[in-house]
Symmetry: D2
């Protein structure tokens, strides 16, 4: 805790908490603080963060503000979507997938400015501390990591605000009271947890949602859209070629309007407890459905079933913060290998919370009407083959049945 | 094909196809035919099947008509639902899960009446032939299996109808033309495939759906319901204790009204080709969501994640027809072991195709507000433990980072 | 560290280290110490431990000495052997499997004597601390755990010995110098690690081995033995019915004589680093081979292959200390389900380090000479079935080949 | 069966059986036969096969004789060895891995000579027919496949010999009687099965072994060797750089001399029955142990454990004949990704059937004496971290223990 620190790169949002951290780091470690603020599509202006950092005395050359939206979607969200990963069957990993990128950029900046430490504002009970720090250590094994929430004695909001006021950190009015819940947002999703959400029997209040309209308020008429895929990645919406981040942003708009992607979940954290969260993943939910749709006609069964098994493990690794691990990269290599011919177009219907695949076509389709048809197939498939297929699949069961006599 | 057969138990629906089979079996094998008609909740009267069998000369003591609805849900649907099994991520296995029960009952009847053969009306291109026959062979290894669709020369509907007319089998008017699609139904679902569904780019026409209203026509106000679980199985709806089949039937009514459980899927058949199907699983979709919901607070993470991995394999086994296999039973033993404390109540919101879990509570909850809270937790969790946890999880990544130097 | 402790149950060997711990616990926590010494077949007399505890002032009613050998083999070693578990492909988990039993017994004693804490002598770098403590916490969530090696300042052997001498703890002559390696032993195995073994390029010196003769010194003639299995567990050696612990002890004698079961391994510890160890598992190696042998003829392929996949996970769980976890128990349920008909006799040849299965027979064999024979099989198998079997297995590959054109 | 065939490429050994097939193909299909004979290191001269084919009237330009040894080891054996694949825990897949290469070469030749069919001499009960034919179909979906053993009526050796004599095919004296077992050989292994091996209780007679001396006859003194690895593949023996095939051949010599790699196995065939085989894999057994040895110090735990799980599936795929499948290739991509730093040297002791790793070193080692040492580690590892690590790993078990109260 009292390790000597010279210069630290802080993941800085410009908000109250990370401003307090900025001050506390300087005070506690007598070190220089470098701030890093990323645009991951969270929907906030970044320039105020610059102004605030300057105000707090951070040197201009030590204020880093980066638009990482395209990198985020292209190198993190899309690779994960190729895996069809869902954590515990439902969660699309919107927070988990952003952390490694932030960690990576912090380490890059640390190298650039010669910092010997990094710091983040995640609490000591959550998964994000793990995700940040596993990223730091994997990329820069000797980095010093400062996690103020695990170290300091500002254990209540009252004390945090007292500290802010004592150190001339402006406290916005709406931060004086307890927030009724806490949120994280990026281009993929918004998550909320804590306070009013802590009783898993109580329905999530409607005011907690910020990224989607209530399905009940969504339009009474569906929208139909198409998404084009190339090598497993989305490349166009309704025929218009779009970059990854722009595509996701457009899908977010559509998902918001139709009330798509709300999830109320009690999940198992890596640090050992259950927590209840609310997630809104409007565009991601549509994209996830569409990707499964295009795989249905372009992926071979062997590849598809192997992917389904690997996806469970993949999701757990991403959730637990092991993005920069050999095993995640191995799984990615397997998954990416399967996507070479995942090309084509998916048509979806969006309506009051539902994103339903209603059509898919591909120059690389493996679906063959000729083979599957109930009509005469002109010899494409010999039904008599099925007899032998069944007989040999049954052979071991027959030997077993003879022995065990059910 | 020309194996001598003495007496055969036919899975008999009373419809045109199985009536033709009945006749064809007698003609081809000079054998006695025993009919078996099961009520699995397909929503058809069974007594007409009895009348028709009698009309075709089946001895009364050789006509078996059984109401298997409770057994179906209790011993097949519910165990499968304990696994949260979905095939290829989406399909709730409604057809697959009915086949083993039919096979089992056919074999029981064969033993009872001293039959040496069984027969079914499944085609040579589909999965059902496999599911029936693997069941037969597993339970009665020396049984003879007759699959007329793989053997006979009635390869078009025209020839089938000619055969029927030549043999005084009544042909209903609506069976004279080609049906625009083919269906299978039971208490869990209705599936449709073929003909108008064969182009996976074309949206499923609304007239194909029979078990659910179009979400667009569903009520504009949601319904809230509760389902109680004991040891992983549903036992009550809105507080009213119900048997398995009655519970599922009630959920079907609710699902129908709210347009829940429609699925348009291109799937990979065990026999090697892709097919496009449409499934309606109204009650099953609600139940599946509810079961996940109750597990969220009552299952430990280790159990839950292991289940998620096993579920992929489990679903594949059920889909492929390996219900009566040691490996399915092994997986079931593991899954059932996990369900001992899966007790409690789930609250769901049903609205225009969505079945959303909005609350869950349990006397056996593992969720602890005391541990997870953002507020002061009175020492229930020591945040400093997280530092050591992360450091040791990171150790191998740091050693790796030192070597590989990213 | 300075939590108040009233009474602590110490896993006590009677050796120098745990005697120092005994003293240190009393001094540091001002608490009463209860000693627990288990006979797990490590091959040491236990009465000296009693005498030593008495000498150090432990009340006679607080000295627990238990012969756990039968429980150890029956309830821990055998269930694990049913899984064919090996860690990282090679290690038979001899140390890992003993820890949960010790933990369980410590907790039982703690309840019996009203102790509020338990303590062990495992170091802070190894896996054993994890295994002990996960066991403690799983069985008694509110227990206090004292791990002196993580707490005290006796960080070198010199200081430990100084402490011993300052507290009138007798120091045996051979403990004055550094031991060239450290060992753990029980009925299943002896492990050695540290010091002279720390360079993984250097061959393990012969003097490190204590449970087996060097294969080069083993008899020039092989021994043939038989082991009988019932429901997956060994029940007889050469036709003589034996209890689990006696059977394993006899196999140890045979393994020792023939130099069987030596393993030089660099393994990955749960705490994140690699370590190099040497293991001797004489009887266990024979037993493991024999169990695989009897499964070969009595397990169905589906069960066998599922077991092979589950075994990797099972071994990792046991190694990491998750014996008392829902997921280990779920896997055990699946594995045990498979063993119902694993009955029969295996014949092995033991020779200079090799334990080779040379024959197996069973009343429950699934092996059928009639089916497999190259000779005329009288219709037991129709070779033409293979054509259909291959054609349908190939169908998806053909559709793929048509698309991808290799 | 009576499909029209114009020109067929036959996998031709030059022996009696494939010579009969050659004749039978011409007679039955009135087609031209192209012969393909491969040197996979089976230890037989190939020129006699050419002479025999010429004698039987095959056009010289239709006789293909290829030395595939380097391709076999480099592109098939080594990639499989990277996976540490063993089928059913023990079998190193020596036959399975050769079949895809033969199939691939047959298809290449078929394209070259404009053949519309391929043929092989595998029986209708075994796995090899599946492996050949899945390979054919994957690479050339419209190829015609002729499997004489499933088609003809030469169902006994007597009839085969009669056919040979009737068609002027020379019958060697030692082929007149029944062979006591049947064998397959290549550079990786020799397998034997059938006849005298059909009773799995009877020890394999010593005369069945051809590739290894009996361990009892092996030298009384061990040999020590080193193998160098680069990117997971063996590149040198005792410091001498060798090509893949030469390296494996040298290891075969060593393995033969020391009686290494004998395996007596009852295995589960893909076609549904159990069979008993004897395998000799002298060099492969040494290589397999060495590869595990080098991975021990160069593979991260996450990668290693994932590999162990994937290896089970990988082995099953190779055994079942799915080499040319997307799922095998996906697994290979994952496995190969892990091998980038699997560099270094393994030292092994060879003695009377044992191939024991006794040392490993690597410029890319992840083993750190500094971290693991029992001695003072100068702060490389903080033992106090273990407390937090254990506490958080235990948290869910404690919550569970509180609920379930063991």
């Amino acid at each position: 805790m009292t390790q000597p620190v010279n210069r630290v790169v802080l993941a800085y949002s410009g908000g109250l908490d990370t401003s307090v951290i900025l001050k506390w780091l300087r005070e506690t470690y007598q070190c220089e603080v470098v701030t890093f603020t990323a645009d991951l599509g969270q929907g906030e202006e970044l320039e105020p963060a610059r102004a605030k950092a300057e105000l707090m005395g951070v040197k201009p050359e030590h204020i880093f503000i980066d638009d990482l939206r395209e990198e985020f979607v292209r190198d993190y969200v899309f690779p994960m979507m190729r895996a069809n990963a869902t954590y515990e069957g439902l969660y699309l990993l919107g927070t988990s997938i952003a952390r490694p990128l932030i960690a990576k950029r912090q380490i890059e900046i640390a190298r650039q400015v010669g910092a010997d430490a990094v710091s983040h504002g995640a609490t000591g009970k959550g998964n994000d501390q793990v995700r940040f720090e596993l990223g730091y250590y994997a990329l820069q094994p000797d980095i010093k990591v400062i996690a103020p929430w695990r170290e300091w004695d500002l254990t209540s909001r009252t004390r945090l605000i007292e500290y802010a006021e004592a150190h001339q950190i402006p406290v916005p009015k709406d931060k004086r009271g307890e927030s009724p819940f806490s949120t994280d947002a990026n281009l993929l999703h918004t998550s909320s947890e804590g306070k009013v959400l802590e009783d898993p029997w109580q329905e999530v209040p409607d005011y907690v949602y910020s990224r989607t309209v209530n399905p009940e308020d969504a339009p009474d008429r569906p929208d139909y859209i198409t998404i084009d895929f190339e090598r497993g990645d989305g490349v166009a919406l309704n025929g218009e070629a779009l970059s990854p981040a722009v595509l996701l942003a457009r899908l977010n708009d559509l998902g918001r309007a139709h009330g798509i992607g709300r999830l109320d979940l009690v999940e198992n954290r890596f640090v050992g407890m259950k927590s209840r969260g609310m997630y809104e993943t409007p565009g991601g939910t549509i994209y996830h459905a569409a990707h499964r749709g295009i795989e249905q006609i372009t992926l071979d069964r062997g590849a598809a079933h192997l992917k389904d098994e690997l996806a469970v493990r993949y999701a757990e690794l991403v959730y637990n913060g092991f993005w920069f691990s050999p095993e995640r990269e191995m799984l990615q290599a397997a998954i990416d290998h399967s996507q070479a011919r995942v090309n084509g177009t998916v048509r979806l219907k969006l309506y009051k919370g539902l994103a339903s695949v209603v059509g898919r076509k591909s120059p690389d389709t493996l679906y063959s009407e000729k083979v599957v048809t109930f009509e005469d197939d002109a010899g494409a498939y010999d039904q008599r083959d099925a007899a032998g297929f069944i007989k040999l699949n049954a052979l071991r069961l027959r030997l077993l049945g003879r022995r065990d006599g059910r």
